[in-house]
Symmetry: D2
Subunit: 164 residues, 4 copies
């Protein structure tokens, strides 16, 4: 079996209108590519919007939930993975993703960016200011910046072709 690429979308549960719109668009573009979308699964912010985007185009959506029940999952998550391990599930989000795209978010999202890089996962920062801290990862080609959902897709494609 050739497995589909799994793209992890991280980002704030509490997101502004622009971030929500970009997350939705990103979800649609991921589905168009035939990739699987994975996120934190909750019914809010970047999680809900990206899942809706992918789901609207019949993409498969996986939600890695922090709690003990699928009840709080977005309705656009087709496969809720119920972890019961709280924020420790952030590690699973990044380990299960082939590429991680971080939309703007708070400390949870920052923890996922950091964990992804620690685990040597490719990371794309969408709508982020460049940061000195991440320069070494950028230089070795593990991290890149994108200013639009389409640029994030281009970044994913660049990572994949770079591995081939």
């Amino acid at each position: 079996m050739n497995r589909p690429l799994i793209i992890g979308i991280m980002g704030g549960g509490d997101a502004n209108e622009n971030d929500v719109q970009d997350a939705y668009t990103l979800g649609t573009l991921i589905a168009k590519q035939g990739w699987v979308l994975l996120n934190g699964g909750r019914n809010t912010g970047v999680m809900a919007a990206s899942a809706k985007g992918a789901s609207d185009l019949d993409g498969l959506t996986i939600g890695i939930l922090p709690g003990n029940t699928p009840r709080h999952a977005s309705e656009h998550i087709r496969i809720p993975i119920v972890t019961g391990i709280g924020n420790a599930r952030n590690c699973i989000n990044v380990l299960s993703s082939d590429v991680v795209v971080a939309c703007p978010g708070g400390m949870g999202t920052l923890s996922e960016i950091a964990l992804a890089l620690k685990c040597r996962k490719p990371v794309i920062l969408l709508n982020y200011e460049k940061e000195k801290r991440f320069e070494p990862f950028q230089q070795e080609g593990l991290l890149s910046y994108a200013d639009s959902p389409q640029e994030a897709i281009d970044g994913i494609l660049a990572f994949i072709s770079g591995k081939t």
Copy 2:
């Protein structure tokens, strides 16, 4: 979205021929129902056989892996969830399943049966001798026994209709 039912198949990584055959058949029957098969994901025993069964009939298969990479997943697992949390992932196996079917196995499988019952998940024991310890759960309808894969499917259907 109406989510598909997720059936968790637990069972030994080290399984005899009969258990492997039953796990394969169980996987095919789950796929025929349109359900999603979830298991521990590794490429051995009941895990590999049940994933192959479901996959051969184009069922969706999810593997909750203990390690840090999808490399050790069965090739019949379409969506590997890479947890990196070792045996602690057994909790995720049961929490993410709507119904748990336990095939014969060792201490890992026993821990999953116990955790499932603790989390109030319906459990079907396939090819198990009846046990006094589980009687209270049987009496309240949370646990049942099956002597064949088809009986396990019947048990799942009974649990679902009981919830309706």
Copy 3:
């Protein structure tokens, strides 16, 4: 540094009077030996009683809590480890123990016995009926039975000397 032995006491949050009394006595005997007592940390049943026993004799007590706060720890737990990972913390209970003593309990305790044996930790079953399922582990010397707290201590001493 020579580390003190860490003895994990598993057992029901909901325990009868005799089990609570034995858990308390077991705690006192562990402290008398200069060992560290580790358990699930909650303020109930075998956990609370064994922590009180050890604490009354100035033994060090560690509680591995399932939730996000130390507030629900027994007051006799000196070091609450706050995991936030729910029942998945059962794995930590057994991995962190040099020897596991299981008092009577429910499915949570059964999961800990199973996980301990899977992780090759010595297990002593206090006030348990002998079980066919555990015979192979008994035969290889990984599991033993005790009918009193003092017998459990003797069992721990036997395991330790066996390793020397």
Copy 4:
């Protein structure tokens, strides 16, 4: 029982000489206060140095280990908590600490700072440049900066008295 304060020391496994020296000094100062030192437990960098500092002054040291065995713990860790959950143990590090002090480090340390703030734990950044991202937390008194181990201790004391 009045529990001792638990101070979590985060920081790089790969640390320079100055950071190692400061981590050692910080460990001694924590022990002098009668506090418990908690860290990631491994025998390297800030973890090993801070544990040695506390241990040299007979302070209690707890190590939250990522792997399945206490074998890789620093010898200055008196109580190794063996989690087996890899980087997901970073959440336990911060949840189990009353105050978190971050020494310089890499992505693992950054994930712990982020998780600590997400979990509303007080954080002191030792030898860090001020960062715009953390300003809101600084303004509400949840995060502060220190330029020496003694200043970190002063920061801890300020947090504690602020809670009283």
